[in-house]
């Protein structure tokens, strides 16, 4: 009874805050869901066009309703939990993965006046929260009681944990130049045209020109690691169809699989958004003050992020899958040294400017 009283007091005291929280939480969710429909459709269409075919054509005009049809299909599909599975873990895993990408969305500044959570350690939070995906994957792989799932999960874990180091290096490099971990601040620093973006050395006069090669290499390193962290081709060994049936989500069906599907695309958006913030000026317009009002800033942010999502899709339908040992070679022997060298240069740049 006392507890209830406490809860009641709490709610009555913070009603406005809770309501605001819920409202603000809904915006990224709606964004994510709409984005997922667009991305799924885009993926199918880009894949088809690259292969000189048409893709979905018979669901609405040009197959525009294909993702909607898929949602309805997945909604009523039988939800199977295998007999030998660890049921609580099995049922929890897709939601944990989804939670990872949803929580990451909470600190992304969509515009200078709107970030769901104005956290001053946003980048640090994102590095931390993106590890949740690993947890979800290994939970799903382990709980499925299927050797392919387990192998896929193990591969995924080793891959993501390895690639987090170069990724963190890239983020650290930018953070050391920006002297801040707040994503809104980093975005604000890069206002005033694309010349001020961190991929071109940051907002520091003409003397920064020696930094440009390092920042560009840093961006490429981060792009490669972002592919690996979202388990996209060419680094999708965790769900390699040729070896493991469907990797860590072999045993998932219906809506649980839809969550895996959603989380994959959500993660793509999150890494693209981070890329946008730390290298491409976040919400700032590429043309200085031109079209730089808060509403247009949302447009710029989403447009830039979607460009990188498109790049990831494009790369997926270009390259074949790498081997597991090649994957590790690339991470530890190429990306890590490169990112360290670039990090040193960027840290120096951070000291000078």
């Amino acid at each position: 009874m006392e507890n209830h009283q406490f809860l009641f007091n709490f709610i009555s005291e913070y009603t406005g805050d809770i309501l605001a929280g819920v409202l603000i939480a809904i915006i990224p969710l709606a964004l994510l869901l709409v984005y997922a429909l667009v991305a799924i459709y885009g993926e199918l269409k880009i894949a088809s066009f690259i292969q000189l075919k048409l893709g979905p054509m018979r669901t609405g005009k040009w197959g525009l309703l294909q993702p909607v049809a898929e949602v309805f299909k997945l909604l009523q599909k039988e939800d199977i939990t295998p007999d030998g599975a660890d049921k609580p873990l099995f049922n929890l895993a897709p939601f944990i993965i989804f939670l990872g990408c949803y929580a990451a969305l909470s600190v992304l500044p969509l515009s200078s006046h709107f970030a769901p959570s104005g956290l001053n350690i946003g980048l640090f939070f994102i590095i931390a929260i993106s590890s949740l995906a690993v947890l979800g994957i290994v939970m799903g792989g382990w709980a499925s009681n299927n050797k392919y799932s387990l192998i896929g999960a193990m591969r995924s874990v080793s891959q993501i944990i390895s690639y987090e180091i170069p990724a963190a290096m890239c983020i650290l490099g930018v953070a050391s130049m920006a002297h801040s971990l707040d994503m809104n601040v980093i975005s604000a620093q890069q206002q005033g045209g694309f010349w001020n973006w961190y991929v071109l050395g940051g907002p520091a006069g003409i003397s920064k020109i020696w930094l440009i090669p390092f920042t560009v290499v840093m961006f490429i390193v981060y792009f490669v690691t972002s592919l690996a962290e979202t388990n996209r081709t060419p680094f999708d060994v965790p769900e390699g169809e040729s070896e493991l049936v469907a990797g860590y989500h072999t045993e998932y069906s219906g809506m649980k699989f839809a969550f895996f599907y959603l989380a994959e695309y959500g993660n793509m958006f999150v890494v693209s958004a981070i890329m946008t913030v730390i290298f491409f000026g976040g919400w700032s317009s590429p043309f200085g003050d031109f079209l730089n009002s808060p509403i247009w800033q949302i447009f710029w942010f989403i447009a830039k992020s979607m460009f990188f999502v498109g790049l990831q899709i494009w790369l997926r339908w270009t390259l074949p899958r790498t081997r597991v040992d090649q994957l590790m070679y690339l991470c530890w022997k190429i990306l890590l040294p490169l990112s360290m060298v670039c990090f040193l240069a960027m840290a120096l740049g951070g000291m000078l400017y």
Partner: protein, 194 residues
């Protein structure tokens, strides 16, 4: 199709479109069919052609999945040996309901060229799993396969998902009639002996 049916329904005075939820779900189910990649013999080559650029099965919303858990239908494309039939059964049972099966080519339909002398060939995949659409041909043309997919979509959009599924009902009916026939036989035998 389902959505169109809903749109065809009369619009009442307030401008509200009335339709069944079932139609909506059936539309989704019919338009998004994920199939299990499963090739057995020469029909599988033709099946690849269907998936490739020229014929492009993805136009119908059919996307390949490698795990049966995420598939909606399985295509039995080729000769089914007794050894493989058991595996097919397992794979089919792993597909979550509602699930469908297409039998492609003469071999899967009835054993094909092996129906007389094939000691090791299953004479018709419908002895193991229930088949929804049969495609004749040896192997069928890619267009024939696409027609079968359209036919499957038609079948799906006609189904009543909130009721007992047609196939299950059919099986029940078959079982009932079999039992009845047995009973009749028994009675006849008894009558004879009397």
């Amino acid at each position: 199709m389902g959505l169109l049916n809903a749109l065809d329904n009369p619009i009442n005075a307030d401008g509200i479109i009335l339709g069944k939820v079932e139609d909506l779900f059936n539309w989704g189910r019919a338009k998004s069919n994920w199939f299990l990649q499963f090739g057995l013999a020469c029909c599988a080559i033709e099946f690849m052609a269907v998936n490739a650029s020229h014929f492009d099965l993805m136009r119908f919303g059919n996307i390949p999945r490698s795990s049966p858990r995420q598939a909606d239908y399985i295509v039995i494309s080729g000769t089914v040996t007794l050894k493989m039939a058991e595996r097919i059964k397992i794979l089919f049972e792993q597909i979550p309901e509602p699930r469908y099966a297409i039998s492609m080519g003469s071999c899967a339909n009835s054993g094909g060229p092996y129906w007389q002398h094939g000691y090791n060939v299953l004479k018709g995949i419908d002895r193991v799993i229930p088949i929804d659409v049969y495609i004749p041909g040896c192997p069928p043309r890619p267009e024939a396969f696409e027609q079968a997919v359209l036919k499957l979509q038609e079948k799906i959009s006609m189904e009543e998902i909130f009721k007992k599924r047609e196939r299950v009902a059919q099986e029940d009916k078959m079982l009932e009639s079999m039992l009845k026939a047995e009973e009749n036989n028994f009675i006849e035998n008894v009558n004879k002996h009397i």
